[in-house]
């Protein structure tokens, strides 16, 4: 085997998957060629990294971190959903509150409006003020003021 032949079989040589015949020939070549011998050492060291990588174990707390990440992600998505609803519900609630205020106001105004048939006269007004505000003696000027205001 020459250098070119060895180089084209170096992977199989390193892994030990070369046939008996080729293996013997490769070993023979390595005894006589220092360049290929050095190359073989370098190559096996690099390919040996695969074996070293295989025994590298992940952090034992990795599962805790993963589960925490999942929890956070789900919380975020739930919050996003909740915030989405808030964004819709907030203006709807305000609009409904304003609308119900208007409706209640107009209904109350209609109900309390005595109408032209139920107008009370001035003496009834004075009686009302007397009884509700505990004013027993209205001066004549006050009576005139009340009558003038009607």
């Amino acid at each position: 085997m020459d250098c070119t032949g060895f180089k084209s079989n170096i992977f199989a040589f390193t892994e030990g998957t070369l046939s008996e015949k080729l293996l013997g020939s490769a070993k023979e070549h390595l005894e006589s060629c220092t360049t290929c011998a050095r190359l073989s050492v370098e190559f096996s060291q690099v390919v040996g990294v695969i074996g070293q990588d295989k025994i590298t174990e992940p952090n034992p707390f990795a599962s805790t971190r993963i589960l925490q990440h999942l929890e956070n992600a789900f919380d975020r998505s739930e919050n996003r959903l909740f915030k989405g609803w808030i964004r819709i519900l907030q203006p709807v609630t305000i609009a409904m509150a304003v609308l119900s205020g208007i409706l209640i106001g107009s209904y109350t105004a209609q109900r309390d409006d005595p109408g032209p048939d139920r107008m009370v006269n001035s003496s009834e007004n004075i009686e009302f003020l007397r009884s509700n505000l505990f004013i027993s003696d209205f001066a004549d000027e006050d009576k005139i003021l009340v009558l003038n205001n009607e």
Binding site: V47, I50, K54, T56, A62, L70
Partner: protein, 192 residues
């Protein structure tokens, strides 16, 4: 817990099912990601995204293959995406270092201490990973699943959704390409 029970639990968003999924597959996911990205911290960060993806896309899992195979597929795809991102980032950083820190970079190389055994090992890992990352995507996946994960050709065929002869061919070509790249690297190295 069987696979169908686990799938049902995940679809119900059952926290116990999530825990079981993570406990059962975290090692497979992290190690596969690690073989592609070449860094354990990145692999662990990536595993978080992979599990989230697994849970969110469980509805689309048709159960035509085993759950483990499906998880492999997601892990490989996500890992390859991360490698692409790393390569893009590395490219940008290299350009930045050329234009911004030209002088500093030169000084740091000159002042670098002699290579320690750890440094030498890291150098070899980087060389191997660089060689693996230069392989075409299909060859890279087949090679990693075969050499690192020690999956059978049949399993690799299922994960990659290709035939057995195609897997054999991909691994053979991957080995030849790696050999070519490494031999070239060492030949050049020996010249200097």
């Amino acid at each position: 817990m069987t696979d169908p029970e686990l799938i049902e639990g995940i679809l119900r968003r059952d926290r116990n099912a999530f825990q079981y999924l993570v406990d059962r597959y975290q090692k497979q996911v992290i190690k596969t990601a690690y073989y592609f990205v070449g860094n354990m911290e990145d692999a662990e960060d990536l595993a978080q995204e992979i599990f989230l993806d697994i849970i969110n896309s469980m509805k689309s899992f048709k159960q035509s293959s085993s759950l483990a195979t499906w998880i492999y597929r997601i892990t490989v795809n996500k890992s390859l995406n991360m490698v692409k991102k790393q390569q893009r980032r590395g490219f940008v950083m290299r350009i930045e270092s050329i234009f911004i820190h030209q002088g500093d970079h030169k000084n740091s190389i000159e002042n670098e201490p002699s290579v320690s055994p750890d440094g030498e090992h890291r150098e070899k890992r980087e060389l191997l990973h660089a060689a693996i990352n230069r392989l075409p995507e299909n060859q890279r996946i087949a090679f990693v699943l075969c050499k690192y994960e020690e999956n059978s050709y049949k399993q690799i065929a299922e994960i990659m959704k290709i035939s057995l002869p195609a897997v054999e061919s991909l691994i053979h070509r991957a080995r030849l390409n790696l050999q070519k790249h490494l031999v070239y690297h060492f030949s050049e190295y020996q010249k200097t």
